[in-house]
Symmetry: C2
Subunit: 433 residues, 2 copies
């Protein structure tokens, strides 16, 4: 007795079924995604359904079908013409997480093709495309043919997704953002995986961040998200592995777009901070293993310059000048260590928000970011700091931004008496395969 027109299903019936704890059939899921993409299910109906999913959950079959329907809402890319196994990485987002920049070249230097469709930052976490855009001339938007050319020539491409890649997810993601329905594991997992499956990679390594600077604050929910995504990848024929990695403190010594490119180039030149190198190599080995490639060690590719060669080719192919000087901020401000001792804690979330407030991030999708703004770290948890010495340096083009950045940094770190040995979590916390 519903008032639906001539369609096979009725939006209200589907909302009610999920609301009352039921499982949606494959046909109901397919119709919901199709009808929402086509505008036949209204935003207010989809948001009620998203809230019911958030509160009542979804079975593995439902999530898998939901993801598949989002993939089918657009085109699935095909890299078979590249002639090399494809492999990719996705991070759930962290502070100072520039790993893609040294990682994609290192993996390509070892014989895989890396077709990474990436995103921009929102809130306190940075976006890979924002970082790369601080390189003069570099452009994120490529056609499908251009992407293929870059991968063929350089071995890796990092660029923006085309409009027809999982359009249902694009629409749903924007809706979830304004309706308090972001924090649902079935919806997070299907959003990430629909894009990665549509991207067409044959193997995928997920870097699921855990800690204050991450979306997942505790190991248990990070494990659940990792397990859900690995299952989705497997169901879709993508060889998928997840690592849970520490995001209690920023990665490396820089947070901000150009600052992170500089640090990435250091890593590609065989140097750079220990944690960035370790995570790059660990993820690269997983990516190569998932793609069935052995015989070459990505740690060597960083040392012998072959990863740097891929980086230069990749940047150049996308219009960037790898030798051009990176933008520098007009103003900087040092935060001094108040006492001498051991830095036991430097909160990733607060540093991320500080970088955002300095201009490195955006609050709305349409906002611009500053290339040079951000935070430089002069110490990492576990290391010695001298009282009165710089602990952090803040960078921005707009000095009026310092106050609000300093406000969030108040209480962001702890310095214990010299000799203290803080109990620091490992960089890689768990592995889900």
């Amino acid at each position: 007795m519903s008032s639906s027109g001539g369609s096979r299903f009725d939006a209200v019936d589907i909302i009610r079924a999920k609301r009352d704890g039921g499982e949606l059939s494959d046909a109901q899921v397919d119709w919901a995604i199709e009808a929402y993409t086509a505008g036949e299910i209204a935003d207010e109906q989809m948001s009620a359904l998203a809230m019911a999913i958030l509160l009542n959950g979804m079975s593995r079959r439902e999530i898998s079908r939901w993801t598949d329907a989002m993939v089918r809402s657009g085109t699935r890319m095909d890299w078979s013409g590249v002639g090399r196994p494809t492999t990719d990485k996705h991070s759930t987002g962290g502070v100072g997480d520039k790993i893609t920049l040294p990682l994609a070249p290192a993996v390509a230097a070892c014989g895989a093709a890396v077709p990474q469709l990436s995103g921009r930052g929102l809130g306190h976490t940075g976006g890979t495309l924002d970082k790369l855009e601080s390189i003069p001339g570099w452009r994120a938007s490529l056609s499908a043919d251009e992407m293929l050319d870059v991968v063929r020539g350089a071995g890796a491409v990092v660029c923006a997704a085309t409009e027809d890649l999982a359009p249902a997810d694009k629409k749903l993601y924007a809706l979830r953002d304004v309706t308090g329905t972001v924090e649902a594991i079935p919806l997070i997992a299907s959003s990430i995986m629909s894009k990665k499956i549509a991207e067409g990679t044959g193997a995928l390594v997920l870097d699921v961040k855990v800690g204050s600077g991450a979306f997942m604050k505790d190991v248990t929910s990070a494990q659940e998200l990792a397990r859900t995504m690995v299952d989705l990848g497997t169901d879709a024929g993508v060889r998928t592995v997840a690592l849970l990695t520490n995001m209690a403190t920023p990665l490396g010594l820089t947070v901000g777009n150009a600052l992170e490119v500089r640090e990435s180039v250091d890593v590609l030149a065989g140097g750079g901070p220990e944690d960035v190198v370790e995570l790059t190599v660990t993820l690269a080995r997983e990516m190569l293993s998932a793609a069935g490639i052995d015989g070459k060690d990505p740690a060597d590719a960083l040392r012998d310059g072959s990863a740097m060669d891929v980086w230069r080719a990749m940047v150049t192919a996308q219009g960037g000048d790898p030798d051009a000087p990176l933008p520098k901020a007009r103003e900087s401000h040092a935060v001094l260590a108040p006492v001498t001792g051991v830095l036991t804690d430097l909160d990733a979330y607060r540093v991320g928000v500080a970088a955002w407030r300095l201009g490195a991030g955006r609050a709305r999708k349409e906002d611009a970011v500053q290339a040079a703004a951000g935070v430089e770290l002069h110490a990492k948890p576990g290391s010695f700091v001298g009282g009165g010495e710089p602990l952090l340096t803040l960078h921005t083009d707009e000095p009026e931004r310092f106050d609000r950045a300093l406000e969030i940094l108040d209480g962001a770190y702890t310095i214990a008496p010299s000799g203290a040995r803080p109990d620091l979590p490992p960089l890689v916390i768990d592995r889900v395969a």
Copy 2:
């Protein structure tokens, strides 16, 4: 770190609080209703909030504040100029529920003023205004001044609510209808009570229907709804009582607009079916008692013609001709009892849907209804039926509607061998004060 503009609250924060099982503050509730009415909270945000309320509930304080905020979204009517205590009744909706028609005049005849702002039917339950509109000339829409004149002159008015009566509820009700968020006791109770409180009645009797033809199918949820509404009325200074009454079978012997007006006039003339008379008198006594009026029995008002006098004055004051013949359907079709015996069951929901399909009801707010369509009952549960004799007569102007009405009536009744004594529920099941 939300991206809200300059407003005091952020819609996403409020949705999240309720989603995570929290209680909303008075200020949050006030802002949510104000901002939604003003269009600052979008439909997709309110529907996510409504789903979170449906699944996580609301405290008594929250429901009370939510109701009050909806009342304050418009004007609250003032009947102090009438010079008599005001009292009203609200039914949660049933099949054949024409009680308002004899009730308002009977109560007014006993000295109270009855200012009833009523609604139209949707789905299988009829609406009081639809019924009255089958009287030639009668109009539902009056200005506030006209309402006051009718109550002053006739003692009672039954008409449509003005646009500025709880506008937040109007908007929210339309949204809930398309987002699977109708069936939430806090939202049902606040919707009903915001309108009745804004109507300005001093006393209120709630007729909470229970059974297949009602919104509440079981006594427990009907009790919860009744208790919630009585609390809301009390919190708002309205003397409120609720009766739970049986809606397993239709009320009276008619279902349909003009058919029910005819039956109501029979009751006002001192006749009519026993159950309609009993419920009218019971509710009338509750309404008078809640208004603090004693000394006159509404059963007498039905017998001595004083209720009929009010009816005629009320209909006339709203442009209707109480002596005009009521519309008759062009076609009718008799459903014959297949065997001789005792009718033990006649399902209210199925009869309601049959009347709807014959044209008495509407699927969408903007649909028109047929004045003369509906179902006549020739027997009630507990009474004898002769095999081959008419059990029901179906009426419609469009004979192509008979098939689908007959379809839903298949299995709508049970006839037991003569001598069987069905266990029938009482008309009044419970009282909540």
